[in-house]
Symmetry: C3
Subunit: 165 residues, 3 copies
């Protein structure tokens, strides 16, 4: 896996964003934006549940009955992200967003945009898109080309920090 | 922790497979098999809930009443693995397996076997076996010797990629 | 991020302790104490749900109505930590503690203390404290100064092992 030919001038971090939960989108985007602000070269590879927030609010995903049903039960978009605990039908997520706002912590969708503005690579997982029926035109703009596990692995092998969140 | 005396000829990846959830068994086995296919030296250390899938379907685990009850409530084997969300009493897991099959994504038990065939080290956690009453003869064949945290740590310290999944 | 000026004499491990679940406090504290016992330089950065166990049992957290409610629904302290699955209103957590005790596995709060005694750095997340209204005087003694994401990132960039648990 020696496909990284460019010389590295800074430290690299690669995050596999797997969960898509609201409470885990914060560490992902806080770590990504803070690392970028400190000169690190950062990549976030969004896969499985972690791909749902990157779909624009209101888009209907799914290429057949089963995947459409999954998209209905787990609606995409940052605004639909649930807490991994204490979600209470969304009340917990809503409360956590209010606590964050009151304390000047940006919501994850803004930290995500800010990370992209600072040059963080946002890589959607191609296999998840194929599996769940998520089209490139349904996702928010500014993302990188969809990639597979081999590309993410090659990036991680060169990264000082690799995290699965 | 300098017990790794052999010279390294390739990059190493070590995954701590902790969760045992169906949706997390996919990234574990996809990353392991993809890395091995690309020449990496891969180890999966399966611990706690992550050890349950490695027990053969139908085996009764537990060395006393409490651990037997735990094995009853969280039955071992890949086929019993649940989704971490949207499991809905197994309906979600079953649906996800159908979506995978329809899209030619191998189930995690096959990716696991394929990973072993490609030389991925599969290390069961000795402490979890002792704790939950899982005997070596109850686990699928082809696994490595059970090891402890110190061995896993020494491997991770030499690995370019270490992930907790 | 080159603020680590001291020469390194040993391998480093940094764990982001995010979940606060009982079953994840074990790998965090087992890995931390085992690594320290083997001469590694270990840091645990406790953030979000992972900060709750570090608050002393019985303390009331929260600086306003919402955060007080959150502290009420997710009471702090190691003794209140829940299992991420099979918790069953605390019965699962209680059962797991009994299984551990019977098999001479120390509870996480003791492994935590032992880790600190062996020199593991325990860093509380400043932002989580501000967000949820957790004061330094409410947390157990022996912890390091609260730090932010940038400090944790700089430590991880120099660490042979970085894990998000």
């Amino acid at each position: 896996m020696s496909d990284a030919t460019s010389e590295k001038n800074s430290e690299w971090m690669t995050i596999i964003s797997f969960s898509g939960d609201l409470d885990k989108l914060w560490p992902t985007t806080i770590l990504a934006s803070t690392a970028a602000a400190n000169g690190m070269d950062v990549t976030v590879f969004s896969t499985f549940w972690g791909l749902f927030p990157l779909v624009r609010d209101g888009e209907k995903i799914g290429h057949d009955q089963m995947t459409k049903m999954m998209g209905g039960m787990n609606p995409p978009g940052f605004s639909k992200a649930k807490l991994s605990k204490m979600n209470m039908g969304g009340m917990g997520a809503s409360m956590m967003r209010k606590v964050a706002e009151k304390n000047n912590l940006m919501p994850p969708e803004e930290l995500f945009e800010m990370s992209m503005d600072m040059g963080v690579n946002m890589w959607p997982c191609q296999m998840t898109m194929d599996l769940l029926g998520i089209r490139a035109d349904q996702m928010r703009s500014g993302l990188g080309q969809p990639v597979g596990a081999a590309t993410a692995l090659a990036r991680m092998a060169k990264s000082e920090i690799s995290l699965f969140i």
